[in-house]
Amino acid sequence: MLATKRLKFNYTPNEELTFPDITCKAGEHWLLLGQSGSGKTTLLHLLAGLRTPKLGAVMVGDTIINELPSGQLDRFRGKNIGIIFQQSHFVRSLNVLENLTLAQRLAGLKMDFPRVSAILKQLNVHHKLHAKPEELSVGEQQRVAIARAILNQPALILADEPTSALDDTNTEQVIQLLKEQATAVNAILMIVTHDNRLKTQFEKQISL
């Protein structure tokens, strides 16, 4: 479960962002809508523990993540939160397989080749197992990023504008994929977007 309480954040002292409280249960799919500059990426980073709120709490499962020290928070995030960024980033010196097993190792889990292999097959990028990130197309990069986000069977999957660069057909596919994968591991899926095409696809929505 994911919950926030009285969450406040400020970049500069006189410009405070206040966020509505959120409560999501396992397996639910949510859409977080907002115009550019409404603070939706900031909220996503707060939910992921990438930033520390000025006030309030973010709970993932039973853990108030904004109270963890940075090393433990990193470890917790690696295990429990999968994140898909607007732009996919990889460790450039490692191939797809190594990037994924690195995600397992850094989260403190054992390397699990069969799982990596199975997920890449589901996402249709298994043939790129030994390719370097720079050799992938943008679409392939996004699918590998999705694979990495769900790899450790997280409780929470966060996606930041996953469809902003995609046409209608691909948008449909990616959203389907995310929903399927989230359902497969019974995770909360939270998609942050300003893309109105997605509105019809999600029942649960938050607007900023």
Partner: protein, 439 residues
Amino acid sequence: MNLLKLSWKNLTYKPLSMLLSIVLFALGVGLISLLLLLQNQLEQNFEKNLAGVDLVVGAKGSPLQLILCSMYHIDAPTGNISLKEARPFLNPNHPFIKQAIPLSLGDTQKGYRIVGTTQAILGLYNAKIGTGKIWEHNFEVTIGANVAKEIGMKIGDEFKSSHGFTEDENLKHEDAKAFKVVGILKPTGSVIDQLILTTTQSFWLVHEHEEEHEGEEAHAEKGHHEEGEHHEEGEHHEDEPEAELTAIPKPLLEESDSAEITSLLIQFKGRNFQALNMQRNINDNTDMQAATPAIEINRLYSLMDTGEQALRALAVVIIFVSGLSVFISLYNSLKERKYELALMRVMGAGPAGLFFLIILEGIILAIIGFTIGIALSHLGMQMLAGVMKDAYRYSFSGWQFLPQEWFLLIGALVIGFIAAVIPAIQASRTGISETLTQG
């Protein structure tokens, strides 16, 4: 996929950017290691051959030259001394002298020095006969183990000696009687391994014809026979009886005053005041000079030391620059890698993980540089060993490893660590959100 492997992948992903650091590291480490090896083996060779000799007495000239010639057999003699002058030291009843060993030098066989001496020299170097027997008659020789090995001399072989210290067929004593190998010594690891030993009198007999031929001048001219001296004929002593040539020679004390030797190796009975004064007495009151091996060798070390210090300082500068180069490469790579560093934190690495990742990269560079440097220095030493062996007949080896090399490794690791520590701290402070939203 652990941190070590990841560091390695990062380094090999852009190998060229790290090449300079590694090359500099290898050069610095290699230079220091080579200096250590060279110094160590030189000192080993010098000290091993001190052989308990307290004083070397020879003709006036450079004391270092006298020592290098008489103890290490690498320089030309300073000249000769007459038996008349040397006689007091040869007296077995001398109050301070335990033993004095005469040396006659100046001839070689295939670059190996022939030494006219007495059997007492064997005791000096703890040499034992391996096969055959110890020389006894004139024109019998017993050869050191290296001589036998390197020029393939066997018992029963005969050869005519060559004048001077260079290999030159034109300088052979063609008209003198040939030497005959009667024994081979066991290897001792000392200079005696590369000597050809015979009686002092054999030396005189080989050179007798020259003096006859060259007339009075040769007698007047004090000093050893210069290299390159010509001596065409030798018919004068064709009528010398064979029996006299191969006789067991008389003790040196009974030989004539005008006979000459090159030098005397002297061991004292004890290091008392009179014995120590003997050196000054000889230098002040005779036409001879006396030199102390240990002092001269220390003088040689201090001569070498100046050059060594300069090279060592150069090596330290190179290593410092290599450390700087490691620092700059790592620091620059942080900029290119900021997204993946942030990403690694997202995936759970933690600030400590990033710190160690960068430290590991610095240390891996240091280890690679160190390994290449050590390999280079030992290869270089092995190549030098070949050259030195040809020039001086001393054995050096590239495959001898020193405990100091471990200190060098520790030093390399420390430099790798220090060079990486600032970039590592920088990496550990990577802010995830700030970096990723910059995108």
